[in-house]
């Protein structure tokens, strides 16, 4: 195996595992603010307990997000030294800003939110929930800005020695690619958060215990879920796709499995791209739709892969194609499911419609898959470039770190993360099984002890 492949797998594996946690915390952060707000407005202990319960789930995810996130920042230097050396002046900025503007905020207020409820006022506790949510979304913003510059480099100057320097700080932060991707990605996080919340609600109702909490979770999860599932396709996904078609046409062609340029290009719903014959095997297509989606007219021409020299086409074509189709297919399912669930909720039938509860329960892993597939689409579509059009992936990895050393640490991470995954599953399941009222018991116990002391 080549060193380049190992370093790519190294980053891909660690970042994929890492992003399982932030996508939930970013989505849940918002939903916890909703729960806390309701608690503050109604003064009801149930909403308060519901938000504490999700605070505990949040905390577990946050810890896993933090510990798997630290390696990400290191890996720019350890595995991608040549890239970092040339681009540090640009993308080092948003990465450092993430630490300075987001992590301090997030860690400070999360400590307060989790440990400080008895030490601060109710409003202050609500405020700390808002700050935790804000911190996680600011963090996401700086990461997207970093990635957006690699996808769509703007506002840079290349110095004679090859280093990149940023020209306008604000243009770097307000990169249109980044803003579109941010809207799309954060909506994706809310999809994950709301599906998880709704699934736990469905679980409680199907089990026939903790009905009051199950109903709260379903209500919040389905309302947020239906909004997010629609917004992730239209307008955010739609706009992002069109922008991509303008600046990364080769990626669009590969994602859609469009081997040849066509006027009135069809959309491929299913089928397997065959690189040898340049065709889709077992195709299920709808004519003209792709042209319409991208240009608003069925007669528009879409460039196929044949328009691009071999060394400028995405390198992992079938994987990119599948990743995109999995994302889009699941996205369609999310809208269907959530619209039906929202309709039932509105009619007051959701809590007893067991088939819908089952569907919600079983669907909770799907947003994780869709978010991961979405990121694979973005990053595989960027290939063979590390910085689109400017620096190839083959020019960026650490030349001093051999394939063997890279494999050694990749295997190490795989083992460690397998352990983490196991631990995580046990802990979250335990939290869900104990339920929102578990901590009430603990609390009364603690209070009695405190009174005695």
């Amino acid at each position: 195996m080549s060193a380049e492949l190992i370093h790519r797998l190294h980053f891909a594996f660690t970042v994929t595992f890492h992003y399982l946690f932030p996508q939930l915390t970013m989505g849940l952060g918002l939903l916890i603010v909703v729960l806390k707000t309701m608690a503050l407005r109604t003064g009801s202990e149930e909403w308060d307990r519901a938000s504490r319960f999700w605070g505990r789930i949040f905390a577990i995810n946050f810890v896993f997000g933090v510990v798997t996130g630290i390696p990400m920042e290191f890996e720019f230097g350890t595995n991608w030294a040549r890239f970092s050396r040339l681009s540090g002046g640009v993308i080092g900025q948003p990465l450092a800003m993430e630490g300075v503007f987001s992590f301090f905020l997030e860690s400070a207020f999360l400590g307060l939110f989790l440990y400080g409820e008895k030490r601060i006022s109710r409003t202050m506790h609500w405020f700390s929930a808002v700050m935790v949510w804000l911190g996680s979304w600011i963090s996401g913003f700086f990461i997207i800005v970093t990635d957006a510059w690699m996808q769509h480099p703007v506002s840079y100057n290349r110095l004679p020695d090859g280093h990149f320097e940023v020209l306008s700080f604000w243009q770097l932060l307000l990169n249109p690619w980044g803003l579109l991707q941010y809207a799309h990605n954060m909506t994706g996080a809310v999809v994950t958060g709301s599906f998880v919340m709704a699934a736990v609600g469905a679980f409680y109702l199907l089990e026939g215990r903790r009905m009051e909490y199950g109903r709260i979770f379903l209500k919040v999860g389905v309302v947020a879920g239906v909004i997010a599932s629609i917004v992730i396709i239209f307008p955010t996904g739609d706009l992002h796709g069109r922008y991509m078609a303008r600046y990364q046409p080769a990626a669009i062609a590969a994602m859609e499995g469009l081997f040849h340029t066509e006027i009135g290009a069809p959309i491929v719903l299913m089928g397997q791209p065959n690189e040898e014959t340049g065709q889709i095997d077992n195709p299920l297509v709808v004519n003209d739709v792709l042209s319409f989606l991208i240009y608003g007219t069925t007669k528009a021409a879409i460039k196929g892969l044949d328009q691009f020299p071999h060394d400028q086409r995405p390198t992992a074509l079938p994987l990119l194609y599948y990743a995109y189709h999995i994302m889009a297919g699941l996205g369609t399912w999310f809208v269907l499911l959530m619209i039906v669930a929202a309709f039932l909720l509105w009619r007051g039938q959701l809590y007893t419609a067991r088939w819908a509860l089952w569907a919600l329960l079983l669907s909770f892993p799907l947003p994780y898959i869709a978010n991961t597939a979405g990121w694979m689409t973005a990053e595989l579509g960027r290939q063979p470039w590390l910085i689109y059009g400017l620096m190839r992936t083959s020019e960026g990895f650490s030349s001093t770190v051999s394939a063997s050393n890279g494999l050694f640490t990749l295997l190490g991470f795989m083992g460690l993360y397998a352990l983490l995954a196991l631990l995580f599953t046990v802990l979250v399941y335990r939290e869900i099984n104990n339920g929102p009222e578990a901590e009430a018991i603990k609390e009364t116990g603690a209070r009695e002890k405190g009174a005695r002391a």
């Binding site: 030294a81 970092s84 990465l95 992590f103 905020l105 440990y115 280093h163 001093t400």
Partner: protein, 347 residues
């Protein structure tokens, strides 16, 4: 000028990281031997529970700042120290997870395991950080292109082609381990009460004596391994205030710990860490990473510095962001001041 500013800004972030995360690493390394029962252990861990994560942020923010201010240094050092850094990452993962999750588990055996992992990872991290600093002091076999790769060990001798670990860097690791364990013990004297507080105060005394010995050994060893580290001091004799500061803070630790003035003793320990690190930085300045392969290969400040516009813009948001960060830190520590409440185990 920009180089000077950013060098010291990064240095300050590293110092703050060591001072803050230092005490929770120290508590981690120490708690295995110090606590007698679950209540005491909870109290010890509760003293770092709300803050360890924020403390670790200084490492990330410092790393990020190094990345954009000195990209060459970041790229070269991180890829050259590849293996030990990966081990550090694994330890950070294990440590964070085991500390945070012990509260979620009420099975004694698993708790004991997590506590053991937490203690061991904390101790090893302290050693690795000390050894890392010693590696920078000693220098690394930089090539002309600014890159190098260090094996974990070679013949345990600092020379032209050393490993990460040699007798000199091992001393660095031990200094860090003892200094941070003492730092953690002093933190516990502030944050806990009763027998645990007494025991922490008692164990600080032998730790202190070992630290004094190791400090002297490490200073002598540094001068022996890299005589040039004294140049800055002789060129600017006023900076001999730094070693004087080291001695003064050691005296402070001893004096105030004996008087049971916990906060003052802890602050003295903060100053000790500050002077040791500042002294090390001043010993290499204006080099960031010395080469064992000849001074021509040194990564110097000017060679590694980012473009002027990047640094000018960076200074604006950095100052703003750090001012905010300091507010958060002060706010959080003020909310959690006083003895740690062992009932407030969180979650």
């Amino acid at each position: 000028m920009m180089g000077f500013i950013w060098f010291w800004l990064v240095a300050v972030m590293i110092v703050v990281y060591v001072v803050l995360d230092g005490f929770d690493l120290g508590v981690g390394a120490l708690h295995l031997f110090l606590v007698r029962n679950e209540t005491e252990r909870k109290a010890a861990l509760a003293s770092i529970g709300p803050v360890w994560d924020g403390n670790e942020v200084w490492l990330l923010a410092g790393g990020g700042t190094l990345y954009f201010a000195f990209p060459l240094m970041y790229a070269s050092a991180f890829s050259g120290f590849y293996l030990p850094l990966m081990i550090v990452l694994w330890l950070l993962v294990l440590r964070g997870v085991s500390l945070e999750l012990r509260n979620h588990i009420d099975v004694g055996v698993w708790r004991a395991l997590l506590d053991g992992v937490f203690g061991l990872a904390s101790a090893l991290l302290a050693i690795f950080f000390g050894a890392a600093l010693a590696n920078v002091m000693r220098g690394v076999p930089l090539q002309a292109d600014g890159y190098f790769f260090l094996p974990l060990w070679t013949n345990w001798q600092p020379g032209a082609h050393p490993g990460i670990l040699d007798w000199y860097t091992v001393i660095g690791g031990l200094v860090a381990l003892v200094a941070l364990t003492l730092h953690g013990a002093l933190w516990l004297t502030i944050k806990t009460g009763g027998e645990l507080e007494q025991r922490a105060r008692k164990i600080a005394a032998p730790l202190f004596l070992v630290l004094v010995g190791l400090t002297v050994v490490s200073l002598v060893a540094t001068i022996a391994v890299r005589p040039a580290s004294l140049d800055n001091y002789f060129n600017h004799p006023v900076t001999f205030i730094v070693p004087v500061g080291v001695v003064a803070s050691l005296v402070g630790i001893w004096f105030w710990n004996r008087k049971a003035q916990a906060l003052k003793a802890f602050l003295a320990s903060c100053f000790y860490l500050f002077f040791m690190l500042a002294g090390a930085c001043w010993g290499v300045y204006p080099v960031l990473l010395p080469a064992t392969t000849g001074a021509a290969n040194d990564i110097t400040l000017t060679r590694a510095l980012s473009g002027p516009h990047t640094l000018a813009v960076g200074l604006v948001w950095w100052s703003f962001g750090m001012a905010l960060a300091v507010c958060y830190v002060v706010f959080v520590y003020s909310r959690f001041k006083g003895k740690a409440d062992e009932q407030a185990g969180g979650h």
